[in-house]
C-alpha cells in the first residue's frame, strides 16, 4: 500500500506560505521497509502500530463544530435512531484542544475560513478532518462570491462525504472509512521512538471500488408507491 508522509517541519512558516503548511510526499509502507532489515522488530512494530491504531480509531472524539444544514444531519447521527456511540465517536467536545477530528459540516464561507483554520490549528495531533457535504467538498451548488470552493483549499481533508446534505447513514459510513484509514496509519509510537513522520495510507477510492456494482442498477423504483 502506498503512503503519504508528512513531517512537522522545523522551519518557521514564512508570511506568504499557504495553508495547508505541511509538505507531503508519497512513500512505501515504513513497516514493510523494516521487515527487510529485521524480521523480529519489524513484526513487533507492526503489532504495536496495529494495537495503537485500534485504540485510536475506536475512540474518536468529534469536535462540536457545525456550519450549516449538514450539521443538522450530523447531529441526527448522534441521536438515538442512528446512535453513533456504536462506533465510539459520541463524545462531542466543545473545545478543539480535546477533540480528535473535525467535521466540516456545511458551507465554508469566506468570512469563516480564517476562523476554521484557527480552530484546526488549535486541535492537537493526532487529528483528522472529514469534509461533509457538497459545499465543504467543492463549494457544491454555491459557486458564489462569498463561498470558498471546497475546504481542501486550505485544510488537509481525510474523508469526503458526498450529498446535499448527506444522510446520517452517509456520515456514519464516512466515519467508518476514516476508521479504516486510521487502522493503516503509521504515526510515531513515542516522541523518542523511531521515525517522527506521519505516514497516512492511501485508501482506495470508493467510487472505483463500487463502480462495477453500481452500474448494474439499471432500473430504479418508481416514486408512485411508498
Amino acid at each position: 500500500m502506498a503512503y503519504t508522509l508528512t513531517r512537522a517541519t522545523d522551519a518557521i512558516a514564512t508570511e506568504d506560505s499557504r495553508y495547508p503548511l505541511n509538505e507531503q510526499r508519497r512513500v512505501e509502507d515504513p513497516v514493510k521497509q523494516q521487515i527487510h532489515r529485521n524480521v523480529f522488530t519489524g513484526k513487533l512494530e507492526e503489532v504495536l502500530h496495529s494495537a495503537v491504531n485500534w485504540g485510536r480509531k475506536n475512540s474518536l472524539w468529534p469536535y462540536n463544530f457545525g456550519l450549516s444544514c449538514c450539521y443538522v444531519e450530523m447531529t441526527t447521527a448522534f441521536t438515538a435512531p442512528h446512535d453513533i456511540a456504536r462506533f465510539g465517536a459520541e463524545v462531542i467536545r466543545a473545545s478543539p484542544r480535546q477533540a480528535d477530528f473535525m467535521v466540516i459540516a456545511g458551507t465554508c464561507f469566506l468570512k469563516m475560513a480564517p476562523v476554521i483554520q484557527q480552530l484546526y490549528d488549535q486541535m492537537l495531533e493526532p487529528k483528522w478532518v472529514i469534509s461533509m457535504g457538497s459545499c465543504a467538498n467543492s463549494g457544491g451548488m454555491y459557486d458564489i462570491y462569498s463561498v470558498v470552493q471546497g475546504v481542501d483549499k486550505f485544510l488537509p481533508v481525510d474523508v469526503y462525504i458526498p450529498g446535499c446534505p448527506p444522510r446520517p447513514e452517509a456520515f456514519l459510513h464516512g466515519l467508518q472509512l476514516l476508521q479504516d484509514s486510521i487502522q493503516e496509519e503509521r504515526r510515531p509510537l513515542s516522541w523518542v521512538v523511531g521515525d517522527q513522520g506521519v505516514y497516512r495510507a492511501e485508501m482506495p477510492s470508493q467510487r472505483e471500488k463500487h463502480r462495477e456494482q453500481r452500474i448494474q442498477a439499471t432500473e430504479l423504483r418508481t416514486p408512485d408507491s411508498i
Binding site: 512558516a13 444531519e73 469563516m112 476562523v115 484557527q118 462570491y145 408512485d224 411508498i226
Partner: protein, 592 residues
C-alpha cells in the same frame, strides 16, 4: 395581554385610505403610485420627504407599527421601466400595520452619483441592520446612521456584491488561497474594537471583560458571533456579529432560472424544507398568473406543516439542551425521524426536497401515503404530552426561562419580531389566519398565544403549534381533494408530460421550458407566509426574462437577532443562553 387583529375580510376593500391620506398631506411629493402584483400600494416618494412620510405613517392614525423590510434594487440594467421615475438605485421601505392588517411599500429613487439617504433608525430601531445591509450590498450611505459598517461581508472585502457590475461566481475570481499573512490579517480585522461601538473599557473602579461568544459556540446554533461586554456575570452590552453564513442567495437568484432557483430556497431556513419553497413559488405564480389546483394547494399545506413540526422538534431539543437538559434532544430527534419517514416517502428526500414546482408539486402523492401520515398523526400527540410533562413542567426549566428575556407586543413590533416569538407576547397575528394563502382559510385550527413574551412562552407556544399543525395535517388526510397535482397552464414548469410527445412543436416548447426555463412578464410580485420561524417573504422583480432581475428574501431570524442587545442589557450570561435557545434561529435564515 391579548390583542385581537382584524379579520381578513377587511383586507383590500375600495381605494386605499392610506394612499389618499398621503396624497392629501404630501401632494406632489408622492411622485407616483406604481401598479404591481405585490398586493399592496407601492408609492414613489421624493427623497427629501421620506422621513416625514415615514413618521406620518408610523403615527397613531395610520399605525404602521413595523418596518417589515428595507432593501434596494440596482436598476441600471433594467429594461422594462416605462412610466417609472428615473433611478439608478431604488431603496424600498416595506411597512406593516398589524392593527389594520395592511401594508404599504415606499420607494425612493437615487442617482448613481449621489447614493445617500437619511437614516430612519430614530423612527424604526430595526432599520439599523437593514441599512447596514444595503450599504454592504449596494454601497448606499445612510446619513445619521449610528454605525454604518459592513454586516454580511468580511470587513476586508472590497465592492458591493448586489450591484449588477459585481461578479457573482467565486470561479470568476482567482482561486481562494489562505496564506499565513492573510490569516493574521483576517483575524486582526475580526478583532472587536469597543471604542468603535462607543463602549467604554472600564467603569469607575472595575474593568469590563469583553467576551467572544462564537463564531463557533455550541449555544450559538451555527456560525454566529456575539461580543459581550461583561461586568462579572452581568451583560452591560452586546454586539451581534453576523455574516459568517452569507451564501449570496439573492445574487444567486439573478442567474438561476425561475425554476432552478427552487432548490436554493430550501437552504434559506434549512430546517424548514419545502416550507421555504412556498413563498417563492406563490410569488412566481402571481407573476405567471397561474392558479393551482385544490389538490396541489392541499398537498403543499400538508408538507409545509410536516416541516413546521420537524423544525419545531429540532427547536425543542436544542432549546432544552441549551438549558442543560441532555435527554430531550434524543427524544425529539426520534420523532423527527418518524416525520422524515413520511416526508421521504412522499418527496424522496429528507431535509431539502425542493419539491414544489411553479404551478404545483413535483409529483403526485404515492400510493399508500395515507397510512404513513396516519401513523405519524397517531404517534405524535402522546409524545407532545410527554414533552409538556417532562420538560415544560420541570422546575429547573421554569426557573431558567420564566420572565427571562421578556418583551411586550409594542417592543416586538418596533423590532420587526414575527412568528411564534411575536405571538408569545399575546398577539394573535398569524398570516395563516390574517392573510390566508394556499387555501389555509379552509382549515380549522387555532392560533396559540403566550402571555409574558418570555423564553418560557416561546418554548411552550411551539409545542402547542405542533398540535395545531397535526390538526391541519389530519384535515388534509381526511379531505384530500382529487384532481391534478399540477396546474394546466402554459407556464407550469416542468410542463405536463402528456403534452410533450404529440408532435414536434410540443416537444420544442417542452424542451425550451425545461432548458431555458419559463419567461415571465415584467412586473413585481411578493408573497409572505407564516414560516417556521416567523414571516418569510420573497419580493420578486421580473424584467421579462428567464431569470429574476432582483429577488429580495426577507427572513424572520434577521430582526430576531438584531433585537438581542436591546433585550439582554442588564441580564446575565445564562439568561442569554436561554434566550438564544428560545429564539429559534438558523444562521442561513439570517445571512441568507
Amino acid at each position: 395581554m391579548s390583542v385581537a387583529t382584524p379579520s381578513p375580510d377587511t383586507l383590500k376593500t375600495g381605494p386605499d385610505s392610506t394612499v389618499e391620506a398621503l396624497r392629501q398631506r404630501f401632494e406632489e411629493k408622492i411622485v407616483l403610485e406604481q401598479a404591481t402584483l405585490t398586493g399592496w400600494p407601492v408609492l414613489w416618494v421624493a427623497r427629501d420627504t421620506l422621513t416625514e412620510v415615514l413618521a406620518f405613517l408610523r403615527d397613531k392614525s395610520q399605525a404602521f407599527e413595523m418596518l417589515y423590510d428595507l432593501s434596494a434594487i440596482d436598476e441600471r440594467l433594467r429594461s422594462h421601466r416605462r412610466g417609472l421615475p428615473v433611478s439608478d438605485f431604488t431603496v424600498f421601505y416595506h411597512l406593516l400595520s398589524v392593527s389594520r392588517n395592511r401594508d404599504i411599500i415606499l420607494k425612493v429613487a437615487l442617482s448613481e452619483d449621489d447614493l445617500a439617504l437619511p437614516s430612519i433608525v430614530p423612527l424604526y430601531p430595526n432599520a439599523n441592520w437593514y441599512e447596514r445591509e444595503v450599504w454592504d450590498m449596494f454601497g448606499i450611505t445612510f446619513q445619521g446612521h449610528p454605525h454604518l459598517s459592513r454586516i454580511l461581508m468580511p470587513p476586508t472585502w472590497h465592492g458591493h456584491p448586489l450591484r449588477k457590475d459585481h461578479h457573482a461566481r467565486a470561479t470568476e475570481f482567482d482561486p481562494y488561497t489562505l496564506t499565513v499573512e492573510g490569516q493574521d490579517r483576517e483575524q486582526q480585522a475580526l478583532k472587536f474594537d469597543p471604542e468603535a461601538w462607543g463602549m467604554r473599557r472600564r467603569h469607575d473602579d472595575s474593568e469590563f471583560m469583553f467576551l467572544n461568544l462564537g463564531p463557533n459556540h455550541p449555544s450559538a446554533h451555527g456560525a454566529f458571533r456575539l461580543v459581550l461586554q461583561l461586568d462579572g456575570e452581568e451583560i452591560i452590552d452586546c454586539v451581534p456579529d453576523i455574516g459568517y453564513h452569507h451564501r449570496g442567495a439573492e445574487k444567486m437568484a439573478e442567474r438561476q432560472s425561475w425554476h432552478s432557483f427552487i432548490p436554493y430556497t430550501d437552504r434559506i431556513d434549512y430546517t424548514g424544507g419545502v416550507m421555504n419553497n412556498l413563498p417563492y413559488v406563490l410569488a412566481v405564480e402571481k407573476l405567471a398568473g397561474i392558479t393551482v389546483t385544490k389538490r396541489a394547494e392541499t398537498i403543499r399545506v400538508m408538507m409545509a406543516e410536516m416541516f413546521r413540526i420537524t423544525s419545531h422538534l429540532l427547536f425543542l431539543g436544542t432549546y432544552l439542551q441549551d438549558l442543560g437538559a441532555m435527554t430531550p434532544v434524543f427524544f425529539t430527534f426520534t420523532d423527527r425521524q418518524k416525520g422524515y419517514e413520511v416526508i421521504e416517502a412522499i418527496t424522496g428526500f429528507r431535509m431539502h426536497p425542493a419539491w414544489y414546482r411553479i404551478g404545483g408539486v413535483a409529483h403526485d402523492l404515492p400510493k399508500g401515503w395515507e397510512k404513513l401520515v396516519k401513523g405519524f398523526l397517531d404517534w405524535m400527540p402522546k409524545r407532545l404530552r410527554e414533552y409538556e410533562r417532562a420538560m415544560m413542567e420541570n422546575a429547573i426549566v421554569r426557573e431558567r426561562t420564566r420572565h427571562i428575556a421578556a418583551h411586550d407586543t409594542t417592543e416586538a413590533l418596533a423590532w420587526g419580531i414575527t412568528g411564534p416569538n411575536l405571538r408569545a407576547t399575546g398577539l394573535d397575528f398569524d398570516l395563516r389566519k390574517q392573510r390566508p394563502y394556499s387555501g389555509y382559510e379552509n382549515f380549522d385550527f387555532e392560533i396559540p398565544i403566550g402571555h409574558n413574551g418570555d423564553a418560557f412562552d416561546r418554548g411552550q407556544i411551539r409545542i402547542e403549534e405542533m398540535r395545531q399543525s397535526l390538526r391541519i395535517i389530519q384535515q388534509c388526510l381526511d379531505h384530500m381533494p382529487a384532481g391534478d397535482y399540477k396546474a394546466d397552464h402554459p407556464l407550469t414548469t416542468p410542463p405536463p408530460r402528456e403534452r410533450m410527445l404529440q408532435h414536434i412543436e410540443t416537444l420544442i416548447t417542452h424542451f425550451l421550458q425545461v432548458s431555458w426555463g419559463p419567461v415571465l412578464k415584467p412586473n413585481e410580485s411578493m408573497q409572505m407566509i407564516e414560516a417556521t420561524k416567523g414571516i418569510n417573504s420573497y419580493y420578486l422583480t421580473s424584467d421579462g426574462n428567464t431569470m429574476s432581475y432582483r429577488t429580495r428574501i426577507r427572513t424572520p431570524s434577521f430582526p430576531h437577532l438584531q433585537h438581542i442587545p436591546a433585550l439582554m442589557r442588564g441580564g446575565f450570561v445564562p439568561d442569554l443562553i436561554a434566550h438564544l435557545g428560545s429564539i429559534d434561529f438558523v444562521m442561513a435564515d439570517v445571512d441568507r
